[in-house]
């Protein structure tokens, strides 16, 4: 029996992460009952014990760009399917938190509130959450203006403020309304001939808006065309 849950479905930035866990028989892991009530320290502690004791752990990650290209439900199901595929043991049944199951060649069942009700799903939710938090800490280093280590990509007030000030990063989900709103507001300002990225720091914007700068048109569907084989992509 494998439990499956996801983390980051509702975040404005970063990947959706899913985990699949198979626990050994017998009640060996205490404290799994309601993962949403866990402190970060308790979650880390349980994560280490799950990793040590589980018969199998699989993780699936779907990046923000795929969330935008498909939709967040499909991305979540993809991550869950990846997590199950990454298991090194074959479960007889897969129990998935929520009310929908990913396409699997295994018996599966959706269990609403499964993360609170079924210990093996609780374990999966802890693995997904801890794994994603670590990925977000890594993204905080690579995109230092947004505070991903603090809010993990969720729509807090300070995240919203950073978004409005700096515009989205490449790991933001531009298909999500709060991010889309920032992009649209920037496009409206540009049509009016105003600086595009920075809202709320007019002095710096005026000083930084350089007449020599170039307008670059980027068709969004151009990604495939620019990856030419044989080009030197090392830096």
């Amino acid at each position: 029996m494998a439990g499956v849950d996801e983390a980051g479905r509702g975040a404005l930035a970063g990947p959706v992460v899913a985990a699949a866990v198979i626990l050994p028989p017998g009640p060996r892991l205490r404290g799994l009952a309601d993962s949403k009530l866990l402190t970060p320290a308790a979650r880390e502690g349980l994560y280490a014990r799950i990793r040590a004791q589980a018969l199998a752990v699989g993780v699936g990650t779907v990046e923000a760009a795929i969330v935008d290209a498909a939709n967040v439900l499909q991305a979540t199901l993809m991550a869950m399917a990846q997590a199950v595929a990454a298991l090194h043991a074959r479960p007889d049944i897969v129990l998935v938190d929520g009310n929908i199951v990913p396409p699997l060649a295994l018996a599966s069942r959706a269990i609403p509130h499964g993360d609170a009700l079924v210990p093996v799903i609780s374990a999966a939710s802890i693995v997904a959450k801890v794994t994603r938090d670590r990925l977000m800490a890594d993204l905080a280093g690579r995109f230092p203006a947004y505070g991903f280590d603090r809010h993990k990509g969720y729509g807090t007030a300070d995240h919203q403020a950073a978004l409005e000030r700096h515009g989205p990063s490449p790991v933001h989900r531009v298909s999500f309304a709060p991010v889309r709103a920032v992009v649209d507001a920037r496009d409206r300002r540009l049509q009016l001939g105003l600086p595009g990225i920075a809202a709320g720091d007019a002095v710096a914007s005026t000083a930084g808006f350089d007449v020599r700068c170039s307008m670059v048109d980027v068709p969004v569907d151009r990604g495939a065309e620019v990856g030419l084989p044989g080009e030197d992509n090392t830096s």
Binding site: A65, G141, R142, F143, P144, A145, H166, G167, P168, S169, P170, V171, H172, V174, V179, R180, V183, R186, D187, L190, L194, P195, G196, I197, A198, D201, A204, S205, T206, A207, G208, F209, D210, R212, C213, S214, M215, V216, D217, V218, V220, R222, G223, V226, G227, E231, D232, N233, T234, S235
Partner: protein
Amino acid sequence: MTRRRLQLGESGEAIAARALRRAGYRILAERYACPLGEVDLVARDGGTLVFVEVKTRSSADRYPPGEAVHLRKQRQIARVAEHYLAAIGAGAVPCRFDVVAITLPEGGGVPRIEVIRDAFPAEGIEVF
């Protein structure tokens, strides 16, 4: 890349980021990598998005670091920039390519840092 040059490059990025912050830039991305390559820093300078290549040389090197971004490298940085712009949902955003040239004196000491604004043009690049 030799171990020594790798070390120079890494410390150079940290030095460049500090220098840019002092000059009023906000660092948005460090070592942004995509399938088309990597750009050392992405920053915001007021309303302009700036893609920054960091060039570090010891003063023993023959050529000044500002001259070390070849056309081929410029084009690669431009392609990475295009990828970045597409990923942030940008139709048209003012942008610019800067080079931060760092010269490390022989035998240690204070590095010389030069921020070259608009080091090469976006409109001169074929892929645009």
